[in-house]
């Protein structure tokens, strides 16, 4: 492990208290992010990947939300101990976020220039002229043609891909050291997705930024990430360097997920392997392994106790499973 990670999260638990009961959204998540590294947080809808990031950013509404436990160290300060004011200083300046749907994340009644300038005015205290100059530079960097005119336009005048570029320009405008990208390409077509992936990769190298890429798309992960965390029902069930995860998955869920994917580069050789059932109801307090009900290798102990995330192979390859999937037998 890097002796000095830029972000370290320990035992994060986030819950929501709603009329129907308590939603156990994140159930003890720990991970770290190194300087300049790109990690991917992968999982299906409702697995807690976005809630994890929103918790770290202090963007969970409390109530109904509750951070039941956890620490998140950024530059040796615990983000959960900061006041709202201190957090505001940090958000957008040190840690910036890009959201899935650029249309709802942008304010429709303000020009793109006004929104792009806002973070710079608040965090950097720049003058109007400086902001104008930097904004044009930023739009140029993310590949928006004719930036001076584009600054005076409103979000609805931008196409989906251009809006996402503008969002990225906003996130980058204060040179953050961490960029959190929450499904930034999910709403876009593949050709535009390819443009955005390439853009983020280029910018990351240029600014030496660390990136957390949240997605459900294992294809995009293979392209962009150096290390991958797989989440299921609020738990991290596997963590590995990207090559190891795809070549040698060690959690039955990761295995099943990779098997359920059709491949664009291969001829069809069989039916898709489907994972029976659906993810568990998060309104029930977790007991045992959350994947047990859908797992082929399940045995009694799985339903009783949640397996810890332990090292199962070299390169800090970790999995949370009582079974060794290479042998099919309990460890």
């Amino acid at each position: 492990m890097d002796p000095d990670p830029i972000l370290e999260v320990k035992d994060l638990r986030t819950r929501f208290h709603i009329a129907e009961g308590t939603v156990y959204a994140v159930n003890g998540v720990s991970f770290h992010l190194n300087h300049g590294e790109t990690i991917a947080l992968v999982g299906e809808s409702g697995c807690g990947k976005s809630v994890t990031m929103l918790s770290i950013m202090g963007l969970i509404p409390i109530p109904p939300g509750e951070i039941a436990s956890g620490q998140a160290f950024y530059n040796e300060q615990d983000l959960f101990k900061l006041t709202e004011q201190e957090m505001e200083q940090l958000r957008g300046k040190d840690i910036a976020m890009v959201f899935q749907d650029p249309m709802t994340a942008l304010n429709p009644v303000l020009t793109v220039g006004r929104q792009l300038g806002e973070t710079q005015r608040v965090h950097l205290g720049l003058s109007k002229d400086e902001i104008q100059k930097r904004s044009i530079e930023m739009l140029e960097k993310v590949g928006i043609p004719d930036p001076a005119r584009r600054l005076t336009e409103y979000p609805h005048q931008f196409s989906g891909g251009m809006r996402q570029r503008a969002m990225i320009a906003m996130a980058l405008s204060c040179m953050p050291s961490i960029l959190i990208a929450d499904e930034p390409t999910t709403a876009l077509d593949v050709t535009i997705q390819a443009q955005i992936v390439e853009l983020v990769q280029a910018i990351r190298e240029q600014f030496n930024m660390a990136v957390i890429w949240i997605t459900h798309d294992l294809g995009v992960v293979a392209e962009i990430a150096e290390r991958v965390l797989v989440m299921y029902a609020g738990f991290i069930v596997e963590e590995a360097v990207v090559d190891d995860l795809y070549e040698d998955p060690r959690h039955p869920y990761t295995l099943a997920l990779l098997d359920a994917l059709p491949r664009v580069d291969r001829r069809r050789d069989r039916r898709l392997r489907s994972i029976p059932g659906a993810p568990p109801n998060l309104l029930v307090a977790p007991k045992g392994c959350p994947f047990a009900a859908r797992c082929e290798l399940v045995f009694d102990h799985c339903r009783e106790e949640m397996p810890p995330l332990i090292q199962v192979a070299g390169n800090h390859h970790q999995a949370a499973c009582w079974i060794d999937v290479t042998t099919g037998k309990p460890r």
Binding site: Q193, Q195, E198
Partner: protein, 335 residues
């Protein structure tokens, strides 16, 4: 006008024949004296057959007209020009009565299982609706029995027959949509992005279900999708659409292994592969810019402003739709 009854079509014979189909949506301006100031050329002359028992994939980026094509083929939009024949009946000449009869042959599964089911209806009412509309099983008890049977077919427990859509997960809702489409024993189903709103682990369930039903009832599918990996898996032949026209049409393996049109090539190279080593080696063609507006279509070949190999002729002449190899159709000057 007299329209012949649908003729039975043998397996592998053309069930659907689409000829030079166009669907334009007029843009009107003015409050009292409305006048047409232009049109959205959503579908602008497409030609293909779908054989009985086959799955034809229709792929392309959002706004390319693939959904409009599917809906026009089912008679949900009036045709601007061109023709659609379903089992020998032309949509153009069909009156309401015949369109209704056609609808028993041709059904649709929608993209969003949250929006396509009436939230105030029970599963029984939703799946039974086509039977009621077509007056197939007027007896309530017989209808309920049929709904039972359909629920079993799509893997839903008939115990849930009186539940409402909100009590089901996304995958289960899509199964309800499939059961509704199957209710009238159709021959042809337009699947409009049936799995794109579902999670990966659920997608495989629905795709396998669609395949099983196809085998059992010799169903013919038009599978509209933007997920090119899934299209390769499920479709026999694939048509690639760009800005209202089909630019390439061929067998799935031929398209994925030997794409001829530069747009197909770029589209396929943009699809991420779940294999990190391979994706580091892959050569990608990244297309510049966005899809142009279907109101002002570029001259000549519509793809020429984004095409990496465009030449002068491309902006002047529309390329011919020709069969380059047996069964491999493409519209490009330069191949």
């Amino acid at each position: 006008m007299a329209v012949p009854p649908p003729t039975p079509v043998e397996k592998d014979q053309p069930l659907i024949q689409v000829q030079q189909l166009k669907k334009h949506f007029p843009i009107r301006q003015g409050l009292i004296f409305e006048k047409e100031v232009g049109s959205v050329k959503a579908v602008d002359g497409i030609t293909f057959d779908i054989r009985k028992g086959e799955t034809l994939g229709l792929v392309g980026e959002s706004g390319c007209g693939k959904t409009t094509a599917g809906r026009t083929i089912l008679g949900l939009y009036p045709i601007t020009s061109g023709s659609v024949m379903i089992a020998g009946i032309s949509l153009e000449h069909a009156d309401n009565e015949h369109i209704k009869r056609l609808r028993r042959k041709a059904q649709m599964i929608f993209q969003d299982p949250y929006a396509s089911l009436n939230p105030r209806w029970t599963v029984s009412a939703i799946i039974g609706e086509p039977l009621r509309v077509h007056k197939l099983l007027p007896d309530v008890k017989a209808r309920d029995e049929r709904v039972h049977e359909l629920m079993l077919k799509v893997g839903l427990s008939p115990r849930l027959i009186n539940r409402f859509p909100h009590e089901f997960s996304g995958g289960q809702r899509q199964r309800i949509g499939v059961a509704r489409a199957l209710a009238v024993n159709p021959e042809f189903i337009v699947c409009d992005e049936p799995i794109s709103a579902l999670d990966v682990s659920i997608q495989a369930q629905v795709v396998n279900l669609l395949e099983d039903l196809q085998d059992e009832f010799t169903l013919t599918y038009l599978f509209i999708a933007h997920d090119l990996s899934m299209v390769r898996h499920i479709c026999d032949r694939v048509a690639v659409m760009y800005l209202g026209v089909i630019v390439e049409l061929t067998d799935r393996n031929e398209l994925y292994e030997n794409p001829l049109h530069p747009y197909s090539q770029a589209l396929l190279s943009a699809v991420p592969v779940p294999d990190p080593k391979l994706s580091r080696q892959r050569q990608r063609t990244i297309l510049p810019g966005d899809v142009p507006s279907p109101i002002n279509v570029p001259s000549g070949c519509r793809f020429h402003p984004r095409c990496p190999i465009a030449q002068e002729i491309c902006s002047q002449q529309e390329p011919e739709w020709r069969e380059l190899n047996p069964g491999h159709w493409v519209a490009c000057h330069l191949v």
